[in-house]
Amino acid sequence: MRDAYVLGAGQSSFGSFPDETYLSLFDDAFDAAMDSVDTAIDPEIIDEAFLGTLGVGGRQIGLSGPAVTEHVGLHGVPTTRVENACAASGYAFRQAVTAVRSGLVDVALAGGYEVMTDASSDHTRWWLGVSGETEWERTSGTTFAGVYAQMASAHMNEYDTTVEDLSRVAVKNHANGAQNPKAHLGFECSLEDAVSAPSVADPLNLYHCCPTTDGASAVLVASEDVAREHSDTPIRVAGCGASSGRVGLFQRGSLTSVPASTRAGEDAYEAAGIGPSDLDFAEVHDCFAIAELLAYEDLGFCDRGEAGRLLREGVTDPDGELPTNTSGGLKSKGHPIGATGTGQIVEAFDQLRGEAHVQVEDPKYGLTHNVGGSGGGVTVHIFEKEETGGSA
């Protein structure tokens, strides 16, 4: 099976843009992705598209994928809309990689889009609950924040994780996001701010929750030949992992981990032939602060129960051993549900090409981790900057 490469990647600004549409936001993302390619390409070389969205607001429940590709002039390109909640575009990217690796296509577009801030609060609350398990979890009155808060309560009970540990996620990611002009909440916050914010779903407070965000992202996936032809710094997709889990937290056996993340991570590491210690940076799915802690443990950054220590010791700070969420993460950069997965890949692409706003020194390997719901679907991707000059 041949390799797949990231040829280009870009995103719209993430934020609250009630005057934009999912089409206009994708316009921006597509343009940014096309502009990021070193040697300009003709859009006509794009053979197929896989686009992720949950479809918050219900605006175009059917066929929004083709609507997007036609809108940006990819006329007639076969387009599949992918729905896996917050992991929609992580899975869309996986589909694009699979299509390229299979030899079926040479260039595939992966991306995602979501508009979340233009509806009434009641309507938005309804939509935010659609990715929890409906028959039992939802009807016990939980919200999305509530399910992650339950995981936090169990983690805090089992491992003595503290509110300060959760709050350090916000402090770190806001500090990173403040450097990112496309971040939704691009401001810094102090530990004191983060600890004392109003409660959303105890033990999670406002600073432990990502915002609802509008935005789009796009990634061009290409065969090795195309990548080498158009790119000075080809970024190889070194490893793909993905796994499903029970949609309801209560059905999963573990309240203090996301088993699908562990499985997806193991597969990705094995495929890339590396381990967590080889990573130079990671973008993990921090929809809620506890999710970033769980990701550290599920992805092998540390042992179970040690995530709080990693934060306390600054291991995942930009100058630490494993900088994590240098983009600002979902917490600060924002979480436009369907656009998040490929949005993380935009940061990985920028880091490996030395173009990130919070740049890690000369990285070789980066990881992205995208979670649907509270763990019903997870993708992990590992990217590698190939040494130029020596190969091909």
Binding site: S120, S121, D122, H123, T124, R125, W126, G129, V130, E133, T134, E135, W136, E137, R138, T139, S140, G141, T142, T143, A145, G146, V147, A149, Q150, M151, A152, S153, A154, N157, S199, V200, A201, D202, P203, L204, R246, G248, L249, F250, Q251, G253, L255
Partner: protein, 468 residues
Amino acid sequence: MSGIVAAGVYVPQFRLSSDELDDAWGASHASGVDQKAVPAADEDTLTMAVEAAERALEDAAVERSAIDVVSAATTTPPLEEGDFVARLVRALGLPADVASATATQHTAAGAEALSRGLDADGTALVVTADCPEGEPADADHPFGAGAAAFLLGDDPAVAVEDIGWYSNETPGVRFRERGDRHVDALGITTYERDAVREAVTEAVSSLEIDPGAATAASIHQRDGSFPYRMAGDLPISNEAVAAGTVVDRIGDAGAATVPIGLLSALSGSDDDLSIAAFFGGGTAAAVACRGTLSVPGLGGIDAVEPISYAAYLRERGYVVDGEVSGGGANVSLPNWQGSLAQRYRLVAGSCPDCGGATFPPEGACQECHARVDFEEFEAPRTGTLQAVTVIGQGGAPPEFAELQQRDGAYAAAIVALESDEGTISLPAQVTDVDPESVSVGDTVEATIRRIYTQEGVPRYGVKFSPTE
């Protein structure tokens, strides 16, 4: 005639004192009522009936499968027309072929339900539950809430020796217009008192016992002084009336007040004669009982969880619009109906391959992921909190917005229920508790509550509350 084999009482924990009423309105129109019971926002006559019946059944030597008749009485069913007994049957896990009866329309409905149960050939479960409402400025003041359940059959602890009836048209004494929530009375004081006293006196006098021998009497109690007035023409002592009066502590619980008063009296009786005298809708009924029995739940009569008048208006829904806005949960009624065994009785599945437990018992085994035919079992109704959060005011999904407006922030938990057949986990709310005080590791027990109402149909299922 059979008698009372076992019984149970349920009174909601909230209490509104008459002092609070007085502060709110400048006067309290609840003579002799010190405080009244207030159903929580997720309670209604169905949930109170289930709770009282569970208590009657828990100590009884009678299997649920042996129950032949279910007879219910309430003037305030959650739906004016709709399922009541059928919901009781499912919630309690009773056989589908029980004969059912529902008495309503007036506060003597409890006597009609008891009579139906006593006449039954076999074992009968009789449940009375009520929570009347009135015009907040005055008629509402004495209205409380509660439920009483009786298991009737052979070899009773308390023999029912006789029932007497008296009917006469006495309009305007207590009535509720069609489509109106509020019980009314015209307040023609002397006429009303005379009409009720005459009916009660005639009914009790028709009994083939000596009322003067009664050591306890639960007499129609719409306020604290009423039962004494109504017994005025009968040779029943004030001490006996006091022994059967509960309205002073729980308020006027409609059709359930006299039954609760009777059970309170029976639990303290020493194989003596006790009398219950019902009145409602022009009908009086008197019941003569002899014997004593212990009644689970009676302690709830004196439980005190005080609430303010503002909280009272919220909990009872006087100031909250129940419309679901923004769309409700996408769980169809047929799907909900199909999960009642889980929502009421916690029916789970045991995997014949690996022995793991799965809840709900459908799809692949949650432990070994094999597709198997589960062996079903009822999970225990007491368990431990594995995870918990508090959904703050304003943060609930739309279908829970009404509950939250009425009852405030609530705790949503994952509960582990452990038994020899395996351990299941399920998500559920923790109710009847300050949500901030709930922690991982707490022991909780199941209770059936109204989960939410959508498209006009209330849906019921399991919640958990802290064990005593």
